[in-house]
């Protein structure tokens, strides 16, 4: 089938999308945007998190067809050219990135949290990131990164 959608501000029109495929598969395999990761394809790990019309979703759980006419923002769309988004820079500075496989999903989720709630408490950060698994860091530096990003956004 044919699919029209906007990803990171760019319009895509793609044919041959299979009815059974996920938005994640379309992004990764058809649109050349492999930044969103596939670690479970079951909605359990959050590595595939993207904004779908401004709402973070697990893109592995969204049928590609459901995104028809929608606007998608992935990890590749967070930075402003050379300039990293505050959340990205804070993940780097806080040492929240080890293997980095969880990072794209966490960045989108954390970005959304701070947009909605500029001064999240620790409990709110944990609750909001509960759907994003990380096997490397033990989450402490991820907590640091989100606190740092919120602080930086508050002063900027």
């Amino acid at each position: 089938m044919r699919l029209n959608l906007t990803v990171n501000g760019k319009l895509y029109e793609t044919d041959e999308v299979w009815e059974g495929e996920s938005l994640l598969h379309t992004l990764r395999e058809r649109l050349g945007l492999p930044g969103s990761k596939n670690a479970c394809e079951q909605g359990e790990c959050g590595s595939c998190t993207v904004y779908l019309d401004d709402v973070p979703v697990c893109s592995c759980m969204v049928a590609a067809g459901q995104a028809e006419g929608c606007s998608v923002r992935t990890v590749e769309g967070l930075a402003d050219g050379e300039r990293l988004d505050t959340v990205q820079q804070s993940f780097l500075d806080a040492g929240a990135v080890q293997c980095g496989f969880c990072t794209p999903g966490l960045l989108v989720q954390a970005h959304d949290l701070i947009e909605r709630n500029p001064e999240p408490t620790d409990a709110e950060i944990r609750e909001s990131l509960a759907g994003n698994l990380c096997r490397c860091t033990g989450y402490e530096k991820i907590m640091d990164a989100v606190r740092l990003a919120a602080q930086r956004k508050a002063v900027s």
Binding site: W18, G20, R28, L33, P34, G35, S36, K37, N38, A39, C40, E41, Q42, E44, C45, S47, T74, V75, E76, L78, A79, L84, Q88, Q89, F91, L92, D93, A94, G95, V97, Q98, C99, G100, F101, C102, T103, L107, A123, I125, R126, E127, L129, A130, G131, N132, L133, C134, R135, C136, T137, G138, Y139, E140, K141, I142, M143, D144, R147, L148, Q151
Partner: protein, 780 residues
């Protein structure tokens, strides 16, 4: 960020820093920018023109004879380019890390549920999956061997590897005896402890891309812990000389031991070479549970005898490790478990034995803390039990028996480096405690066991505190020639001296790329250090495992950089006539205390590149005597850590909330303190997972929970704040004094959490993980 960031406390140590980002600092990772942009290419992200997709047909039975395979219908399916079986393996259909016992594709028998039987290449992943369903395999199902103890001792069971020459289904038996065997003690405690099978659960699935080359070889892009080990095994299966199999590391989404054995490597190459096209393979999560080895489950009987005032008199232990269908790292697990089985304690009389066996359960092999995790759960439970029997403080009991520099372990090895276990315990005890729960205040239910599930508002909650101290060997042991290779170069680029470091050592997330840069900066006195992609065009580095890379590859990078520096000094002497003996490179300049700045490095270099390749071998180790387990130096180094866990337990529902999990660890020299804290926190979280939730459920040889829905790993809600206190007591035998860091926290965290749950509930809890069913006494 200062208020919130969990900065490590460190013992002070001198190392004059001449340039930023050298050894002892915490520069950020060179791959970080790509990673946060989503532009870092993991092995599952690769693609090539005209690429096919590979898929693997796996055995549905844990033990069966294959009586026929019909690939005809699958091959006839449109879009399918190849269907391969064992008959198509071009070389030797056997591989293995220690013992070469595993078929690339099953021949007449399958030995575990999930064993690869056939391969498909098709133009689309979905087509490949459908073609798998069209392959008809006839199985004659056999009764699986699933009891590891019987596998070790019962000659009536079928031998799963009849050609191995093993007794029964034994892969390795190792006893260690020392001191008197007829001693008695005032106080004796004993117990049998069991440990479930843990999964590495790295997030990046097994994957890779193989491209056939014009010279009849193959280029492979993959995620692994050891390129050369993969290449050796893959070349053997392909019947190619190793230099025709060229491997390059792609982005690795975590490893933790699960990428030491082959997964896709030989398969994806076979498909590429057969079809003459690039082929990509990517496992999904379920297949990943079948596609890599797990941590060995164990059953361990321990008996500790002590004097009335708390001095250990003897330890007796009997440990069984289920290696599953193929040997993988089972021999090393037995070696580590027996040599580390007394814990970080001095014990005069020891009688320990370990058995590692073949069964038809899922194959088990390397996972962080290899062979040291299992006995730690047992000996630390025993130390607490002994403390209770003696009415002694558990930390004090541990301190009284703790090893120190000069101690002799039960293998006969004397610790000729710092072993500050008593100090680690003291510091752990003094770390600030989390605040007590205020029974009067309305609690935030998110802080309680059960969390937002709203299962309690504070009633039936008991708090407990537990400690654990552990010992782990670093690097390969028992006489293995353990080494790594590094190529370092220095040249002038755009008026600046730039270094390059090239090794095959796998960056799996731990930050080895950063460490290599730091070492080169410190040794060469230049700011810019590029890291060449890891590949097999440089000598072996060994595996990113056993907490060894900063030590071994770090040692090789240091040696190669020193050689480059020496060459630079020789050139300087030739150019400048003579140079003073106290010559050094600082900030791109050749300087000496006596003569000040002599020249710019770029001037000396001119157009030339200085390049040196060096190997670093650690001092030799020696095998264990097969009967007594004695060895003058079985391990090149030991590492130690202590965890203190604080938990709240809902005693009615058996739910646990870990409130704090704080660690004190001796790292010898903190090459990159921030990265070390990350390693300790991440490692501890895996240990905590094993203590409270992680277990691959296996019954009748079948995995019952191969998904992240049913195999749970800690989320950010399950994981507490973790303080880290780093001690730096340098090991004089190691480069910069470093001590392996990655594994110890995984080993000490779990036993500390269990100890805390026992303290909260008064229960014995002899199984890890301790789930709600164990805590409420409803476990079957």
């Amino acid at each position: 960020m200062s208020a919130h960031v969990n900065a490590p406390s460190r013992t002070s140590q001198d190392l004059s820093e001449s340039i930023t980002g050298g050894v002892g600092e915490s520069p950020s990772r060179p791959d970080g920018n790509l990673k946060v942009r989503g532009d870092y290419a993991y092995s599952s992200d690769l693609g090539a023109e005209d690429m096919l997709w590979g898929a693997t047909l796996r055995s549905p039975h844990p033990y069966a004879r294959i009586t026929g395979i019909d690939v005809g219908p699958a091959l006839a399916h449109p879009g399918v380019y190849a269907v391969l079986t064992h008959e198509d393996v071009p070389g030797d259909n056997r591989y293995g890390l220690k013992i070469v016992d595993q078929p690339v594709l099953a021949e007449d028998v399958v030995r575990f549920r999930g064993e690869p039987v056939a391969l498909v290449a098709a133009d689309d992943p979905e087509t490949a999956r459908r073609a798998l369903e069209l392959i008809a395999v006839d199985y004659q199902v056999l009764e699986p061997v699933t009891d590891p103890k019987r596998a070790a001792h019962d000659p009536a069971l079928p031998k799963l590897h009849p050609d191995s020459g093993c007794e029964n289904n034994l892969v390795r038996y190792q006893p260690i005896v020392r001191g008197r065997q007829d001693v008695r003690a005032d106080v004796v405690v004993s117990g049998t402890y069991t440990l479930g099978m843990q999964d590495q659960a790295f997030l990046g699935p097994e994957s890779g891309l193989a491209i056939p080359a014009e010279d009849g070889g193959v280029e492979v892009f993959l995620a692994t812990q050891d390129l050369h080990s993969d290449r050796k095994q893959t070349a053997r299966a392909l019947g190619l000389p190793p230099d025709k199999v060229r491997m390059t590391m792609s982005g690795v989404g975590g490893a933790f031991g699960g990428r030491e054995d082959l997964s896709i490597q030989a398969h994806v190459c076979m498909l590429a070479m057969h079809t003459g096209k690039p082929v990509k393979m990517v496992y999904n999560r379920e297949e990943s549970f079948y596609g890599h080895v797990h941590r060995h489950p164990a059953e361990m009987y321990f008996e500790h005898g002590a004097t009335r005032d708390g001095e250990l008199v003897y330890v007796k232990a009997r440990m069984y490790f289920d290696g599953g269908a193929y040997a993988s790292k089972t021999p090393v697990v037995v070696g580590n478990a027996t040599t580390l089985g007394t814990g970080p304690y001095e014990v005069p009389n020891v009688d320990i034995a370990g058995w590692g066996v073949y069964t038809n359960n899922p194959p088990c092999g390397a996972m962080r803390g290899l062979g040291a995790v299992q006995p730690a759960f047992a000996y630390e439970a025993q130390m607490d039990k002994l403390a209770r029997a003696l009415d002694m403080d558990p930390v004090e009991l541990r301190q009284r028996n703790a090893v120190e520099q000069g101690s002799v372990l039960h293998t006969g090895q004397q610790l000729d480096y710092p072993a500050p276990v008593g100090e680690l315990l003291e510091r752990a005890r003094k770390l600030p405690m989390p605040p007590e729960r205020d029974p009067a205040a309305e609690p935030d239910i998110r802080d309680l066991p059960g969390g937002a599930a709203n299962t309690t508002h504070g009633e039936d909650i008991a708090r407990g505190v537990g400690y654990a101290a552990i010992i782990k060997n670093v690097s390969y042991a028992e006489g293995a020639d353990d080494y790594s290779t590094a190529r370092a170069s220095l040249q002038a680029v755009g008026g600046e001296a730039v270094a390059m470091v090239h090794t095959a050592a796998a960056e799996v997330g731990q930050g080895l790329v950063t460490v290599q840069q730091q070492i080169a900066r410190t040794e060469l006195g230049v700011e810019r250090v590029n890291i060449h992609p890891n590949d097999t065009s440089v000598g072996e580095a060994g595996s990113s495992s056993a907490s060894r890379q900063t030590y071994i590859t770090g040692g090789a990078v240091k040696a190669a950089c020193e050689a480059v520096r020496e060459t630079l000094f020789e050139r300087a002497a030739a150019k400048l006539g003579h140079t003073p003996p106290d010559l050094a490179v600082v900030d791109g300049k050749l300087v000496s205390d006596s003569h000040g700045v002599l020249a710019d490095v770029v001037e000396i270099l001119g157009d030339e590149v200085i390049e040196c390749t060096r190997e670093y071998h650690h001092r030799p180790t020696y095998p264990l005597d097969p009967e007594t387990g004695q060895s003058e130096l079985v391990h090149v180094q030991h590492a130690f850590s202590v965890h203190r866990a604080v938990v709240d337990v809902d005693t009615q529902l058996g739910l646990v909330k870990v409130v704090a999990l704080d660690c004190v660890q001796d790292v010898g020299k903190a090459v990159n303190p921030d990265a070390i804290v990350g390693q300790i926190q991440g490692g501890a979280t895996q240990g905590m997972g094993l203590a409270v939730m992680e277990e691959i459920q296996v019954s009748d040889g079948l995995i019952r929970n191969p998904s992240f829905t049913d195999y749970l790993i800690p989320t950010i809600l399950d994981t507490p704040p973790m303080k880290v206190d780093i001690l730096e007591r340098g090991d004089p035998h190691a480069p910069y004094g470093v001590r392996g860091v990655g594994e110890p926290p995984t080993i000490s965290a779990g036993p500390a959490v269990l100890a805390a749950i026992r303290a909260a509930t008064g229960l014995d809890l002899t199984h890890a993980p301790a789930g709600p069913d164990h805590i409420t006494g409803t476990a079957g």
